[in-house]
């Protein structure tokens, strides 16, 4: 079964399954995202870059698109798509840049490989002290003590991009507390939940894409 047919969707809907439905087997070839997939994916992206998503799709320098391949979402140019389709299948390991993957339960996980696109458009940012830098790169959450700076008016559970003091993007996470709440908490409180960091290029090389 390559794609959920309308029939299946309806049946599942009747059973009370109200989430996007995905093929159970791995897709052999690249395909565009379905509507539900697009919704979930964009919802996730918008947590980090807001309405800047449209800058990713309507580009001046050529047409780019998202494609789903083996549950992973890739972002590529039309030329890449054209030529890449000749290689599609089991042998195609990566095309363009990978944004993340859909889990079996239909959620979307952003990968650190998307950082190159998130960082320039990011709305909310966090800067780390040099002492906390290494901690974050090993996959730890960010404590108040390691926090250097924080964008104003960050709300709770807002996606934030993490930088070090040299403005080098280290990864991204989710704000555990709003900016206001951060001011008053003690140094050992977690202020940003870790989601992805560049250390994963080494730690999770195998599972990254």
């Amino acid at each position: 079964m390559r794609r959920a047919t309308p029939m299946v969707i309806i049946v599942l809907w009747l059973r009370g399954v109200r989430r996007p439905i995905f093929p159970c087997g791995q897709a052999k070839n690249m395909r565009p995202l379905t509507q539900e997939e697009t919704n979930t994916f964009f919802e996730k992206l918008s947590k980090y870059i807001g309405e800047n998503i449209k800058l990713l799709i309507d580009r001046q320098d050529g047409s780019y698109c998202f494609r789903l391949h083996k549950d992973r979402v890739y972002y590529m140019s039309e030329e890449q798509l054209k030529i890449g389709s000749s290689a599609a299948g089991d042998t195609l390991l990566s095309i363009g840049s990978c944004f993340g993957k859909f889990t079996k339960s239909g959620k979307f996980h952003l990968h650190v490989t998307a950082l190159d696109y998130l960082a320039p458009y990011a709305k909310h940012k966090v800067w780390l002290k040099p002492s906390a830098e290494q901690q974050f790169l090993y996959g730890h959450h960010i404590m108040k003590s390691g926090l250097g700076r924080l964008t104003e008016d960050t709300e709770q559970y807002q996606g934030v991009i993490v930088y070090n003091m040299n403005d080098l993007a280290l990864g991204f996470g989710v704000a555990a507390k709003s900016t206001l709440a951060c001011r008053n908490c003690d140094p050992m409180t977690i202020v940003v939940f870790h989601q992805a960091d560049t250390g994963q290029y080494i730690r999770d090389e195998d599972t990254l894409t």
Binding site: L93, I95, C98, D116
Partner: protein, 741 residues
Amino acid sequence: MGRKREILEDDKPKKGPGRKTKKQPAPSFKALLGDEGPKKLSHKQKQRQRKREEKKAEKASAGAKRKATPTPNSRPSKKPKLLFDSDGDDDENLRSSDSEEEEMQDEFSEDDVLSDSESEALEKESGKKAKKNEKKAANAATPKAKKQQEKGNAKTRKQEKMAAPESDDEEEDEKSDSDSDDEDESDEEMDVEKASKKLLKKQKQDESLAQDELMLNIKSQEKFTLPSGQEIEKEDILDLVILSECSLLVLLFVTRVWGKRDRVVNASNSRSGGRGISHIRHILADFSERREEGRSRKEYLDQLCRDLCARFNYNEFLMERLLGLFPNEIMDFLEANEYPRPVTIRTNTLKTRRRDLGPMLIDRGVNVEPMARWSGVGLTVFDTKVPLGATPEYLGGHYMLQGGASFLPVMALAPQERERVLDMCAAPGGKSSYIAALMKNTGLLWSNDANRERCKAIVSNLHRLGVINSLVTNYDGRAMKKVFHSFDRVLLDAPCSGTGVISKDEAVKINKDEKDILRCSHLQKELLLSAIDCCNANSKTGGYIVYSTCSIMVEENEWVIDYALKKRNVKIVPCGLDFGKEGFVNFEQHRFHPSLRLTRRFYPHTHNLDGFFVAKLQKFSNKIPGEENKTDQVEENGEESAKSENKTDQAEENGEDSAKSGDAESKGKKAANSDTKKQAKQKSTDKDSETSKSSSPDKNKAKKNATPDKKNFQSGKKVAGKLKKPGFLPKKGFKNKKKGN
């Protein structure tokens, strides 16, 4: 040269006291004039003289005792043992090679003393020889020495002669002594120019005689005896015994002193290594003069090979090949392989600039400096306090750890923006990312590798370095042309035996043999043909293929390129690298196309890079020579194809001598011609072998196919120009083939 005696200008007034004249007065040879008059020895000199003589007397008496128990048989076998198993092992380890050589000579001279004394043993009684020697000495020795002899008694004279080399040295010493003494003594004016001339003449004679004698001694000293086969076996056994007995002790001690790497080297060196090697190389440098009678060059070479193997832990096959490649600089090469190349990093120009990255790394405690002049993105790392592969900059993709040599093929490829580039064997993505950086993330970069596990590294690295125009696949490189074959440029960094990177992987020293090399070579040929097929000759900007390996074997480099020149419509173009050594055109039994001179080789000892080979090819036609009647040429195994190549080699070379080699068209024709010829030949041989089968249709087919092919190629460029969609060509050929079958 030197200071000159002023003969005529003595009476001229001096212009002024120059600095030199103050320090060194012009030399005068007046000392020589005073040789008729008796000379006085200073008190101390006399004492020294006496002591010397006493010593000699002692030595001589000891020698006489030894002579009493002569062992004539033991001599020839003893010599090499002296060479290889010296008793002073422990001391020698500490000494430099220079001192070793000196020591060697000393040993030889001792040996000579012994042999001389042996031979004289019988004659001593009659004393005839002694007299003769005296006479000789009278001619040879300087006047000063004469006087000494007159002073000394007859016995000491004999003994002096017996210890010839040493006494020579002493004579010279004393001469110089007397020179300085006599300068003070004589104040005579020059009434005696004639006399001085005579004296000079005489002195020359003396010197030449002394020199002759010395040379004689040296000659006999320098003879180096090769161990016989039995001795080698013995030595091997000894090796085992000694190693097993004291391996623990020695290793423990040595590791503590010299560190890990030198461990085995020193253990073997002390026994048979260094001295044998330097000695044999010395002999081979002037073989006809220095060799031992009746020994062939091959024996020496074999021994050298064995010694080098033992010292550096190579297997004999590899050492032989290396000796073939570097007859003169073998030691440099082997030494260079013992040490790692400097760590280099490549700035990722997609994310940062070198002048920004440098200071940033220095802040982190990494001592870096811009790399060689030829690279604008490389940095050499001298030392570092932090792990280079885990700094936030590395993780952020600002640089890539990459050997200096692996910049070269990409620089040779010179990819342009908006091109389609294929990296056929890409893992782990270092070169690929460099290509992407040069293309500034435009166009398409197709990175392929046959190993799925290693492909993950490509994906990870490309993402880390911010490459967005990439496409990573996991195909066998040989099948690439069926997937997509319209690339502007193709980089083939072929899998190889790794003989250029021994410093990185020491296992290569031992685990490679002839078969491995040929297997690599065969795979490389297939891959290169595939790479050429993937490239589009009609591309506006490209049509280039770069072939590189980290091997220095000719079989994996020039031979492969030469094969491709014959099989496809490609020519070699300069790589655009202004350094490196030229590729071989002639090597041992191989005779390659002269344009292989344009390829480049890089060695650890000359360029301080990994051993590397880079060749750049340009494809000038998408037509595959003899495609129609091609059966299984690509699938042929390496040796067979090699044979067929060698057959056609000569014919082709003859043809090429007449025409200029650089010309694309003429070359294309030639290649086509030779290929059709070859095919015809192969057909005929096939036919011969399969006479039982219906040979006539086969023959006809071959003829049919051969003729139109030729036509096509003689109108060479036209055809190439017409082909707008090169990709279809091979398919057509394929169809035809199928039909035929």
